[in-house]
Structures are given as structure tokens and as C-alpha cells.
Symmetry: C2
Subunit: 288 residues, 2 copies
């Protein structure tokens, strides 16, 4: 199958690697707006060819939008327009486009009334690292992780089956939910973690202006907690922006929890601190 | 050297393992208040013998207080009292006691006026995991990490040299600072990380009451950020309590940073969000 990947960064590049080596894709046709990244992707071997968006869509059976969600919202209707123009005189389109973005509601709304809506499948492979660009791509990134497929009743069954087959090739287990639930859930288990890490980095970097050696003392715990603060602004600005309403609710709950710690510490309330910690310890049954 | 370790949990137990197998300690004499942990420590082989605190101090050349800092503040004067009672008629004491706690000011104040103060060395090996108890002890835990030695001018040069030799055996590099600086630094690079993780766990666990499947979606980023929320209350309650003043300042800065994100997201200020993220990205030059 000819597979077009728009955006050959961490996610697109890692999909390219595994889809090719595991035989799902005969050819990877890449689209990459950044010329340095495009050259790197070719050199690393993430794509067989680099084309323009329109050429890629025309040449591919499956198109994967692996760009930040702000760009995806603009590109998705453009891809569906090309599908429409390319349709056979019998009114048949056999192409499929998916996105792999971290927010889903706005993309779903964007595509909702498009005549080719059924050829689009909204997906979110729950995998990644804090690095970005073609150099960050790696084999096996998706193995064993969950992939969310949203609003699949709005997609053609043939397109959904193709996408399920593709994620099966990436060793991902599918979870089905609507776009709106997706955005609530990811606000809690992904987006807020990034905000807490960014804020932690800013807090400690502020202090470092006066205390040059503060990081000599940073242990593994600090590194783990602040790791996501290395994440890329191009990716995260539109996510925070598009998931605004859910995120504001989560941030408010989070500030309330930090406030509970502050109050208990301020009031020498060791019993209160203990209760908060022991409640938080229940996370043990959830994560390894 | 006969080495007494008070508290055979993650830190004490891991020190026991490496000090014995690398030949620094001929014999490890353990003190463990919890009878289940004591039996486990003997079975695992962390200690050669288990004794009472007083017997252990009498039988050991070097005593390591590896208990939560609340208990250490009470035990340190008791150990120094035993040193005083045991002193030879010539007024000579050749024993040394260290602590390995995460806060230092209160311990330093506690020991400051004790006649045997010079036989105490305040240390903080910057290593650990989110697990606790003798089962969590492991070889190599300290290799390559930093160890802080505080107020060493108040300790006898022979005691400091012994402790440096011991940490050298654990492959740790020493950093010297006063207790007060130590507590400021650890508030920033360790204690606040724990509070942000606990608060994140509480935030998401609250939501889970209504959304049973929320954790199906948790990715590696979430696990990394929330990992420290598994940490033990017995250890962390007295740390937060003893480092109250520094922590309140750090928490306030942190709440301000979270508030900046909230404001930018609330006001659809994508440029503002980008600036915050890019500022936070400077953490890249600090951590791997």
C-alpha cells in the first residue's frame, strides 16, 4: 500500500519506520514543509520520496496527517477536497486519511459536514517521547500502547478496517470513544502533565538565575518529573489552545490540590499532609 | 569496620549491600523498629545481626541513621549521648554517626550544642526510588550520584575523612554546603517535585471516580510525571514539615507559573503559551 505521511517528525517518522519494515507500506511518500527536516528524513530513510501535499495525496492510498493539530485542522479539509476532485465518475473514492493528533473535537467539527467525511478516521496513538523532529523517530515506539479511534461511526467501514489493520501492524490496541470524551480524558492523563512539568521547569530555572549550582543536586526524581518540559512548543501550543475548556477545569482542580498541600504545610498540619500523601499513593494501583 | 545502620529500608538497606560487598564494612549491625522489616532484612541479608539502638551504637564504629527525618531528629542526640557515656577516661571518642536525611537545618540545630557534636557528620546522598522498605534496597543505587555533606567544619576532620571514604566506596561525588543552603536547594530540585506529583495523582484520581477507564489512556509521559506520587508518607511528612519555610516559597512561585499557563490558555493567548513553553524548554541544557 502506498502510504503518504504528512510530517516526518517523531510520530510520522516512527510510523514510517515500522509500517515499512513490517510490510504494511510498500512505499512511504513524505510531505515535509521544513527543508532541513525533509533532507534528513530522506537521508535517514524515513521516506522513499518527498512530494508536495497535493502530489502525495494523489499518489497515496492512505494519508497520515502527522503535523501539529493547528496545521492538521487546516490540512484535513484540503486533503478531503483533493479526494473529492479525484473521485471516479462512478462516485467512488477508495482513499483514506487519518490524523494522529492529541485533540480531537476541533478536527471532528472541521470535517463533520465535508462530503468526503467518511474517508477520514480520527485517531490518536498514545505514544511519544519528549523529543521531536525526524531524528527523534524510532522503531517500536507504538508497540503495546493504546490507540484511540474517535467517532468511527462517521467513517466508512472500509476506512476504519484499513486503519485498524494499520494500527495492528504497529502493535497497538484500539480503544473507541467519541471526540469529546477523548479530549476530556487526554486533558487528565496527558495535557495537564505537560503543564505541571513546564511550570516546574520555570520555577526551578527562575531560582537558578541566582543559584548556579542548584542542578548539581537534581536527582532522578526531579528529572522524571520535569522531563516533559522538553516538549516542543509547535506541538503543544495548539493542543492547549484547542483543549482550552477541559484544560481550564483540570488546571483549577490541580491548583486546588496544590493549595491543599500549601495549607497543610503552612499550618504545621502533619496529619493533613499524611492524608494527602496517602490518598495520592492510590496511584500505585494504576501505574507501574 | 563495624557499621551500624539504623533503619534498613531503601536507603539504609542499599548502603548495607554496597558497603558490605565492596569491603568497607566487615559487619553490618542493623536496628529496625518494625519486626516484619527486621525479619526481612535478615532474610535478604542486608544485616548480619539485628540489635537494639543502644547495643548497635556500642558495637559499631560508624553509625548511619537511615530513618525518616522526624525520627532522626530524636535519635541523633540519643546516639551522641551514648558516645559521651562510652568515652574513654582519656576523653577520646573514635565513633562517628551520620544521617542521610533530605532536610538538614533542624538536625544541625538539634546537634549544635551537644558536647559530642564533632562526631556527627550531616550527609545527604542524592539517590533513591519511589519505593520503600527492605525489599526496595538494591545494589548500585548510589553509583555516580552526588552526596551533600553539610557544615563539615563542625565535624571532626577524622570523622569527615571516614565519611568521605565511605561515600567514595559508594561511588558518590561529595558536594559541600551549609545546612541552610542545602534545604533551599532540595526544596527546588527534590521536594517540590514530590508535591507536584502528589497533586497530579490526586487530580486524576478524583476524576477517575466517575471515569473508570481514564487510565487506559495514560501514556509514558503521565507515568513519568506522576511516579513520585508513590512515595512513602512516613518519609515525606517530616520532610515537608521541616522544610516548611523554603517549601512555601517554592510552592508560591510554582502556583504563579501554573497561573501564567492558566491565564494564557484562558485568554486564547497562543503567543503567551509559546513563550512559556519555550522558556521551560531551557531545562534541556540541564537534564538529559
Amino acid at each position: 500500500m502506498k502510504t503518504g505521511i504528512i510530517g516526518l517528525g517523531l510520530i510520522g517518522g516512527s510510523m514510517a519506520i515500522d509500517l515499512k519494515r513490517r510490510g504494511f507500506a510498500d512505499e512511504i511518500i513524505g510531505v515535509e514543509a521544513d527543508s532541513v527536516n525533509a533532507a534528513a528524513a530522506l537521508k535517514i530513510g524515513l521516506a522513499d520520496r518527498i512530494m508536495s501535499l497535493e502530489e502525495c495525496v494523489r499518489a497515496s492510498d492512505l494519508i497520515i496527517l502527522a503535523v501539529p493539530v493547528g496545521a492538521a485542522v487546516k490540512m484535513l479539509p484540503a486533503v478531503l477536497d483533493i479526494f473529492e476532485n479525484e473521485m471516479t465518475s462512478a462516485g467512488v473514492c477508495s482513499k483514506t486519511v487519518i490524523d494522529v493528533c492529541s485533540t480531537k473535537e476541533q478536527l471532528s467539527r472541521t470535517a463533520h459536514y465535508h462530503p468526503m467525511r467518511s474517508r477520514y478516521v480520527a485517531t490518536h496513538p498514545m505514544a511519544g517521547t519528549e523529543y521531536s523532529g525526524p531524528w527523534a523517530a524510532m522503531p517500536g515506539l507504538f508497540d503495546g500502547r493504546a490507540c484511540i479511534i474517535c467517532n468511527q461511526e462517521e467513517s466508512a467501514p472500509a476506512s476504519v478496517r484499513l486503519v485498524e489493520k494499520m494500527y495492528d501492524c504497529l502493535n497497538m490496541r484500539p480503544i473507541y470513544m467519541n471526540a469529546s470524551s477523548h479530549d476530556v480524558h487526554t486533558a487528565y492523563v496527558s495535557h495537564i502533565s505537560h503543564i505541571t512539568s513546564f511550570a516546574l521547569a520555570l520555577t526551578v530555572l527562575d531560582k537558578e538565575k541566582n543559584e548556579k549550582h542548584i542542578f548539581d543536586l537534581a536527582s532522578g526524581g526531579f528529572s522524571s518529573t520535569v522531563r516533559l518540559a522538553k516538549s516542543n512548543a509547535d506541538m503543544w501550543v495548539p493542543i492547549f489552545s484547542q483543549n482550552r475548556e477541559n484544560l481550564l477545569k483540570v488546571i483549577d482542580t490541580y491548583i486546588e490540590k496544590i493549595g491543599s498541600f500549601r495549607k497543610a504545610i503552612d499550618e504545621f498540619d502533619e496529619k493533613g499532609i499524611r492524608t494527602l500523601i496517602e490518598d495520592a499513593n492510590r496511584i500505585k494501583r494504576i501505574i507501574r
